[in-house]
């Protein structure tokens, strides 16, 4: 199988084939030796890349789009995001001039349950990335949820004093 992996602005071409129960792995045209073993189910791995040792937790993001897949990898206490694409699909896309682009979310969800303390915007308002939208109380703290891009508020679903569940839609953008 052939993959393209993207981490921030870096891109890697990876080929993996299984021959005689062994993995043949090529990274950017250079063969590498890998030893990849599950240390703790479901996703805690020990990985030796050309004898360099890495402990890692690999999580697949649940939402699958097209033939790309988002991963979160935690190594040495820090978390990294990686977009993995099937090379065939990537080629097709390039050919057709399709840009892989993050879909703009129309729905603004709360990342945690809590109590709405204040709504800082009104329907029809224009907001900028970084502007506060809603304050939600959880763990005895007020947490200001902010816009991550410029948008216009279409609809507000909550009011102060209202308890909200995780991933509940608080605001809909236009």
């Amino acid at each position: 199988m052939k993959y393209i992996a993207k981490i921030k602005d870096k891109k890697f071409k990876i080929s993996i084939e299984e021959k005689d129960d062994k993995l043949e792995v090529i990274l950017d045209n250079i063969p590498v030796s890998v030893d990849f073993t599950l240390v703790k189910p479901p996703n805690f791995l020990s990985f030796l890349l050309d004898n360099r040792s890495y402990d890692a937790e690999v999580n697949v993001d649940s939402g699958r789009q097209d033939a790309t897949q988002k991963y979160f990898v935690t190594i040495k206490g820090k978390k990294y995001e990686c977009i993995l694409e099937d090379e065939k699909f990537a080629k097709l896309k390039d050919f057709a001039g399709i840009k892989s682009k993050t879909k703009v979310e129309k729905e603004f969800k709360t990342p945690m349950p809590g109590l709405v303390v204040a709504v800082e915007v009104n329907e029809g308002d224009k907001v900028k990335a970084g502007d506060g939208l809603v304050i939600v109380e959880a763990m005895k703290m007020e947490n200001e949820l902010k816009a991550s891009f410029d948008a216009k508020i279409k609809q507000i679903n909550v009011k102060p004093g209202q308890p909200v569940e995780k991933d509940e839609v608080l605001i809909v953008f236009e």
């Binding site: 993959y3 981490i7 805690f44 040495k76 990294y80 007020e142």
Partner: protein, 503 residues
């Protein structure tokens, strides 16, 4: 000494007190809300009583329930931990009225020092310098604005009953005042049940340095040196250390004397903390007193070898301090990283869930105070401090290097934690030099992303993702062929079994 005490708290601090009690052969009684049935404090204590639904105002904050449990279980004394009722003078009074011992200062001292305004007055009169501030509570927005104009912006709004950064706001300009007053008094009310707030001059780039004191019932008061607590986020301490890089022997003596004076003036008994702000010229100002065991007390324990919880218990049971100021010896350096259940990759929003995988760092110079275990739940009802990771080193540099090593070893899955953030701080040049103030995080991490680039790791990450996908697809294929699925543990166990033998 007591035979049995009630611990009116939960989580890591309840576990901390249980450990001290076990080592002194004191039986422990704990309480738990519905969501805390499996919490480590319940599992480790000798007795545990159910006290109601998860919200703390229906369980951990209900004084009558706690008194009932103490009476039913024949506990002689109550340790309040920190937070909840720890600094509530009514609770301390009630405990004493019921013929029980409150493991903390007398209700009067809590009342005096808990009222920031009275505390400032009393302490100031005893000769200890204080930060310039209004003499009364904030009555109106205009009131606050005119004070701010007098001493100059920025000013600091603080909860009269406060602590732990809750109900606190910096106000940089007139137009921020209204929202700041509203937010601070809301938080003050929800955290302490007291919405009163006051205002003081905000010192530029101060250091936040506090002194641990111990006072027995016979008027003996000593201090255990300072803790540097300048590394704060949203006015909450996140990293503490002892000694401070700015405090020399002479300054330690002068500040320690001031802390003892402040404790004397307020009739203090038990373990407590006198907090100071230190300006660029090493002038110090009394800020407030915390009339309880502090979250960060272990850094002092690591450099002095004194178990502060045990001393609290001895003092409460009427023992005299067994050592004098000159017996206190400091050795090496200690750092604490507070591990919060907050997501540093998502604006430090709270995170909750089941801890699906857990491995604590260990080995030389490491201490972990936590209530975590594999399979435990972190809920959104309570304080986000889920663990305190401490290191000791013969030098500050060794303590920092050890902390980096420990943070990398510390593995908590299932919830987001601030471990990546702490790793960033340990790599920060200003932090390593000790060139810090309470503005450190804002200045150093304000706009920057948490994750810096690690070019050498990118290849590894790319390969891990590709291999995971490859393996997953192969598994699906194999499963289709095999038409049944075994648990990974079973497969593992069998494989191990196969090669177990072969001498």
């Amino acid at each position: 000494m007591f035979k049995k005490i009630l611990i009116a708290n939960r989580g890591e601090i309840a576990v901390r007190v249980i450990r001290a009690c076990k080592e002194m052969e004191i039986k422990t009684v704990t309480v738990f809300s519905e969501i805390d049935r499996k919490s480590l404090h319940v599992r480790l204590s000798d007795e545990a009583y159910f006290i109601g639904p998860p919200p703390s105002n229906q369980s951990y904050l209900v004084m009558e329930k706690l008194i009932n449990v103490a009476e039913k279980s024949n506990a002689e004394a109550i340790h309040p931990g920190y937070g909840f009722l720890a600094e509530n003078p009514q609770f301390a009074k009630l405990v004493e009225e019921k013929g029980l011992v409150f493991i903390g200062p007398p209700a009067k001292a809590i009342e005096l020092l808990g009222d920031k305004m009275r505390a400032r007055k009393t302490i100031s009169e005893s000769g200890v310098p204080i930060v310039p501030g209004m003499e009364n509570m904030i009555a109106s927005e205009n009131d606050a604005i005119s004070f701010a104009k007098e001493v100059g912006f920025p000013v600091l709004i603080k909860a009269a009953a406060g602590g732990g950064g809750k109900g606190m706001r910096i106000v940089e300009s007139e137009k921020q005042m209204k929202e700041a007053i509203r937010g601070a008094s809301f938080e003050a009310k929800s955290s302490f049940g007291d919405e009163r707030i006051y205002i003081e001059k905000y010192l530029e780039k101060p250091r936040h340095i506090e002194f641990q004191i111990l006072a027995d019932k016979f008027g003996n008061i000593i201090h255990l040196g300072e803790r540097e607590c300048s590394i704060q986020r949203r006015h909450q301490k996140v990293i503490e250390e002892s000694p401070s890089t700015v405090v020399d022997e002479d300054m330690r003596k002068r500040m320690g004397d001031a802390a003892i004076m402040a404790a004397k003036a307020s009739g203090y008994v038990s373990a407590g903390t006198m907090e100071f702000l230190v300006d660029k010229d090493k002038n110090f100002y009394f800020l407030e007193s915390n009339t309880r065991l502090q979250v960060e007390h272990p850094v002092t324990e690591l450099v002095t070898g004194i178990d502060i919880v045990k001393e609290q218990l001895k003092i409460a049971s009427g023992e005299k301090l067994s050592f004098k100021q000159e017996d206190v010896r400091w050795s090496g350096a200690s750092i604490e990283c507070r591990i919060y259940a907050e997501d540093p990759y998502n604006n430090f929003l709270p995170s909750a869930g089941i801890v699906s995988s857990y491995l604590e760092p260990s080995g030389p110079g490491i201490r972990v105070d936590s209530g975590l275990y594999e399979g435990c739940e972190v809920s959104l009802y309570y304080d986000p401090i889920i663990s305190k990771l401490l290191t000791w080193g013969s030098t500050r540099n060794e303590a920092i290097c050890r902390m980096k090593r420990a943070l990398q070893e510390y593995h908590i899955s299932g919830i987001a934690t601030t471990i990546p953030f702490h790793l960033q701080v340990m790599d920060n040049k200003k932090f390593i030099k000790g060139d810090i103030s309470t503005h450190f995080i804002q200045e150093e991490f304000g706009k920057k992303e948490i994750t810096v680039d690690h070019d050498e790791l990118y290849k590894v990450i790319a390969l891990l993702c590709a291999l995971t996908d490859f393996k997953e697809k192969k598994k699906i294929k194999t499963l289709k062929e095999k038409k049944f699925r075994e648990s990974p543990w079973k497969i593992e166990g069998r494989r191990m079994g196969l090669r177990r033998f072969g001498f």
